[in-house]
């Protein structure tokens, strides 16, 4: 069973979340209502004795144990907090309502879980089942100590609902046991820790003892009519019993097997105490190890990074280094260079393996695994953290021997393998922020140690000296403008009077293949009558590659320069076809006080088509051409632009064939995170894997919407045999649109 069921449609995902939410909230009222209808009246006296068959001082024991257990529980997170405070400061308390909403949607509602249906179902059953049994116990305590309200139909509904919750949790636990022991799911590659195993069996034991206790009670009291605390009188209520269905079945079976009242009461008594001890033990455990994710995972969701610009993921916009002059260290080299939240992140990871299952680096045989590097830092935090914390408290200037995290605890290759595609962050159910940590370590390696792959170094040097990352190009930023002029097309230069600046980008101007896309976009903009201009020779690198390659200083210089140019020219709206520039301008320029409205070319073209300003031919040359669309990470996953490119493709008339991994589940082409210019460390090339996937759809054309994807697939279709044999073409969405649009305006001025 290697298949993995996933829900990719956002509507379905929301539906699942909403359904689980409401079923859970309405479970008891709903079941009570059913009880009323089904029983048809006559059971208004139904209830149960809370401490049936148990000595009266057991109540005190239960409360005493609860208090003790809560103390033990609380010590766990507090001791972790002390370790996290090794890290630097970071504020995660702003916008509390939005945080609460996130907690409800993703914590209680488990909105991230449907990415893997089996695991999602398993976890939902355990989570909701367990939560309900917990709430049910509180309800019972309230009934026992304050107001006796669990009577009649409410009691019957309550009893049935709790039995259902118990069944749900049991099924969930069995699914987990199956997955761990028989399926041996690849996500459990790291094997089982002792608490992984112990917890499952403990929870199963708690559930099963609960059922047997109920069964004995139902058998003796409701079926046999033995009433314990009024001196052994008899008053059977057999028609109440089916409302505790599991207890009913067990009790009935015991009676059928000839068990005596005495035996059943004996079993009941022993298991009741065992159940109490196990349940209390479980509660105490919540403060520690794997179970602490119930509290800490929820807290982590509450303290997720909220983007001020609406970026989809924490890693969509990297945190800037605010002051280079006073920074103690650039990036994160040692434990104390991370923020407390980053250390909390590594600590709350429960190794569920979702991130790793989607990671392009890991899936092509590289060293990086998002889960793996978190676990490495976590292990080191546990090993060295207490001593470091103690040394800090003593403050005698003596630093204990400390291992470097960047390059030692976490390997050089791990840090450099990341393509910042965000698949890990999109998967993580508790919003761990993987990318910022890897980038902080890159920053340390680059800016403190100048320790990086040779290709990255050459790219950064190139960028610094020449303002673009394309070493050896024979084109200039105006070559394509001159070429269009020879065709009679005059490209307007931006002078502040136009509505839009069209940002061409380094790749769009300096790479032959991408120049064709740039020209297509310009022809379409002119045809649609969009008011725009370009910067020509005044463009320079946006800074994105520098930031993703860890040179934050160079990024800020380049970005600052570009922002100043924009401001000087009066730029307000920018059309960008490079998703990386799009993302950096939309989410990262505001950090440097550059606030512009940024639109991706696919968004703009979708709008121009809807407004009828571009008219594609019906049944044109592209009609029915099998085409697959590769969602660029920085457009789809980081920026939620999913439908517009597909609308443009639909307008061209191509037949769209989706790859298995599409929309927000897209698989990186291999060029993100500066990897356009960095050689892959080992394993298969990411772009070859993705090209195969695209070719397997039967597509004749791979449609892209990113200059780097274009480069990667162009190389891919030449190197992957199936693609080469079929002669698969790689075209930008804009190129497809250009081919299908009827050009009617006088675009070819002067010829």
């Amino acid at each position: 069973m290697a298949i993995e069921l996933k829900v990719t449609s956002p509507q379905t995902r929301r539906l699942i979340t909403a359904l689980t939410f409401f079923t859970a909230i309405l479970l008891i009222p709903l079941v009570s209502a059913i009880a009323v209808i089904a029983a048809g009246g006559g059971m208004g006296e139904a209830t149960r004795e809370v401490f049936f068959n148990i000595v009266s001082w057991a109540r005190l024991v239960a409360y005493g144990a609860t208090a003790l257990v809560l103390l033990v529980l609380a010590y766990g997170p507090l001791s972790r907090l002390r370790l996290w405070l090794l890290g630097r400061k970071e504020a995660r308390w702003d916008r509390p309502w939005e945080r609460l909403k996130a907690f409800l949607m993703y914590g209680i509602g488990q909105g991230r879980m449907p990415n893997d249906l089996y695991a999602s179902a398993m976890h939902l059953l355990i989570f909701w089942g367990w939560l309900f049994l917990f709430i049910g116990t509180l309800m019972l305590a309230f009934h026992d100590d304050f107001v006796e309200y669990l009577e009649g139909y409410v009691y019957l509904g309550y009893s049935l609902a709790l039995d259902l919750a118990g069944v749900a949790a049991t099924v969930g636990i069995l699914m987990a046991l199956y997955r761990r022991y028989l399926w041996k799911h690849p996500k459990m590659r790291l094997g089982s820790l002792w608490d992984d195993v112990a917890l499952l069996w403990l929870m199963l034991a708690i559930l099963l003892t609960g059922f047997v206790i109920e069964g004995m009670r139902v058998g003796v009291s409701e079926l046999q009519g033995a009433i314990i605390d009024v001196g052994g009188g008899r008053e059977a209520n057999p028609d109440w019993a089916p409302w505790s269905p599991i207890g009913f079945v067990i009790g009935k079976a015991a009676l059928e097997a000839g068990a005596s009242d005495g035996l059943m009461l004996g079993i009941h008594k022993v298991l009741w105490w065992a159940h109490l001890v196990m349940a209390m033990g479980w509660v105490a455990w919540v403060g520690y190890g794997k179970l602490s994710h119930i509290l800490l995972g929820s807290a982590n969701i509450f303290m997720r990074k909220l983007s001020p610009t609406g970026a989809a993921l924490a890693g969509s916009a990297l945190e800037p280094i605010r002051d280079f002059e006073t920074a103690e260290r650039f990036g994160a080299g040692y434990l104390r260079d991370f923020t407390w939240k980053q250390l909390a992140d590594v600590d709350v990871c429960v190794r569920c393996g979702r991130c790793e299952s989607q990671c392009p680096a890991w899936n092509t045989g590289k060293e990086l695994t998002p889960m793996g590097f978190l676990q490495e830092i976590k292990a080191y935090l546990n090993e060295a953290g207490p001593a470091l914390q103690a040394a800090r408290r003593q403050d005698d200037g003596q630093q204990p021997e400390e291992r470097k995290v960047a390059g030692d605890v976490v390997s050089f290759n791990t840090i450099w393998d990341c393509v910042t595609c965000g698949a890990c962050e999109y998967q993580c159910p508790i919003f761990i922020e993987h990318i910022q940590k890897l980038m902080d370590m890159r920053r340390y390696l680059v800016m403190e140690e100048a320790n990086m792959p040779e290709t990255a170094q050459a790219t950064l040097m190139q960028l610094e000296q020449r303002g673009h990352p394309w070493r050896g190009t024979q084109l200039t930023r105006t070559t394509w403008i001159e070429e269009l002029a020879r065709e009679g097309i005059e490209v307007p230069l931006f002078d502040g009077s136009q509505e839009y600046l069209y940002w061409v980008g380094c790749t769009g101007a300096l790479q032959e293949r991408n120049v064709r896309v740039t020209k297509a976009i310009v022809r379409l903009l002119l045809e649609a009558g969009v008011s725009f201009g370009v910067l020509g020779a005044e463009e320079s690198c946006s800074g994105d590659p520098a930031r993703r390659l860890g040179n934050e200083y160079l990024f800020q210089m380049q970005a600052q320069k570009t922002i100043e140019t924009f401001k000087a020219k009066g730029v307000r709206k920018i059309i960008v076809n490079c998703p990386h520039d799009f993302n950096v301008m939309r989410h990262e320029y505001p950090q440097l006080d550059g606030h512009f409205e940024v639109v991706h070319h696919t968004e703009l073209f979708a709008r121009l088509l809807a407004e009828g300003r571009l008219r594609p031919q019906r049944m044109g040359d592209l009609w029915g051409v099998p085409t697959t669309y590769h969602d660029p990470c920085y457009i789809a996953r980081h920026n939620d632009i999913l439908t517009e490119p597909r609308q443009v493709l639909a307008a061209t008339g191509v037949e769209l064939l989706e790859m298995g991994r599409h929309r927000k589940h897209t698989f990186c082409c291999g060029a993100g995170g500066g990897h356009m210019w960095v050689e892959e460390s080992k394993g298969r090339r990411i772009n070859h894997v993705r090209t195969e996937e695209a070719t397997d759809t039967g597509a004749q054309v791979i449609a892209v919407a990113c200059p780097f994807c274009m480069q990667m697939f162009e190389e891919g279709v030449g190197s992957v045999p199936e693609a080469a044999q079929k002669g698969v073409q790689v075209l930008d969405v804009a190129e497809l649109l250009e081919r299908s649009v009827t050009f009617s305006r006088v675009v070819r001025r002067g010829s």
Binding site: F324, Q457, R466, G467, T476, A537
Partner: protein, 266 residues
């Protein structure tokens, strides 16, 4: 033992400028600077600094001075080398020297090096990547009266001697010389290191010493170029393409072979 290494560095127009941008004023016999093309340190010279830094990595107590001659903009090249890890920068800036040929350049640099004495090793690139003449290094050695090892791929200092591996067409040659000496380095030595940000920031704060010809006790009137430029032009490259046509692939191959044989290429 403390060692003093002087690295000579030149700034050049970016050699990776697209050829289409490269224009020459044939009448004035000058290269027209391309717009938007930043000057960069000549690559072999930064490799020279890398060689010096490697000597320091091995020995520890080494002072590295970067020496350059040219207009004020050459400071950028010096700053880059300081950011790589060099200790001090000296720029000889004298408008009367802007048209200097290799001979005058070597004389000025030699005077500056003597002013910087004591020194143990002078490292230059095998050639500057703009004019590619490759003579300043050896001329310096001649003027200073010290040994010279050219085009090397590694430099070590052992027991007061410099040991260097020279790059030959068919291998390497290990050469030793007493100090002080001049060594010119080639790209086989390896990539120059990437400056760490702290060093870039420190380099930005460092002062570059500026000297004029007079500071070196030289009279510009006495410094005469020995090389004069006769003509400067971009060579014409002509490419003729002939498309060989035919009905079938076999026919095309047949014709292609025929043409290659006619052209005596096979």
């Amino acid at each position: 033992m403390s060692l003093h290494i002087i690295c000579c560095v030149k700034q050049v127009p970016d050699p990776e400028t697209p050829a289409s941008q490269f224009k020459v004023d044939e009448a004035a016999k000058k290269v027209i600077p391309a717009p938007g093309i930043a000057p960069v340190p000549s690559q072999f010279d930064t490799i020279g600094v890398e060689a010096a830094l490697r000597v320091r990595d091995a020995l520890g107590d080494v002072k590295i001075t970067v020496l350059s001659m040219g207009p004020d903009s050459f400071r950028d090249a010096i700053k880059h080398c300081l950011a790589m890890g060099a200790d001090e920068g000296v720029l000889v800036n004298d408008p009367s020297l802007y048209e200097a040929d290799h001979w005058v350049t070597a004389q000025v640099l030699a005077a500056a090096i003597q002013k910087l004495a004591p020194y143990d090793l002078v490292i230059t690139g095998r050639q500057a990547v703009d004019w590619d003449m490759g003579v300043v290094g050896p001329t310096l050695a001649e003027l200073l009266g010290i040994p010279c090892i050219t085009i090397v791929k590694s430099v070590r200092v052992e027991d007061g001697r410099v040991v260097a591996d020279r790059v030959l067409l068919d291998g390497t040659e290990t050469v030793e010389a007493p100090l002080p000496a001049v060594v010119t380095v080639s790209n086989e030595l390896g990539e120059p290191r990437y400056p760490q940000l702290r060093q870039i920031m420190m380099a930005a704060r460092k002062q570059v010493t500026v000297w004029t010809a007079a500071d070196l006790g030289l009279d510009p009137a006495q410094l005469k170029n020995r090389v004069s430029l006769e003509a400067l032009y971009v060579p014409q490259v002509k490419v003729e393409t002939e498309i060989i046509d035919g009905e079938t692939a076999e026919e095309k191959v047949e014709k292609l072979l025929q043409r290659l044989v006619e052209a005596k290429l096979i």
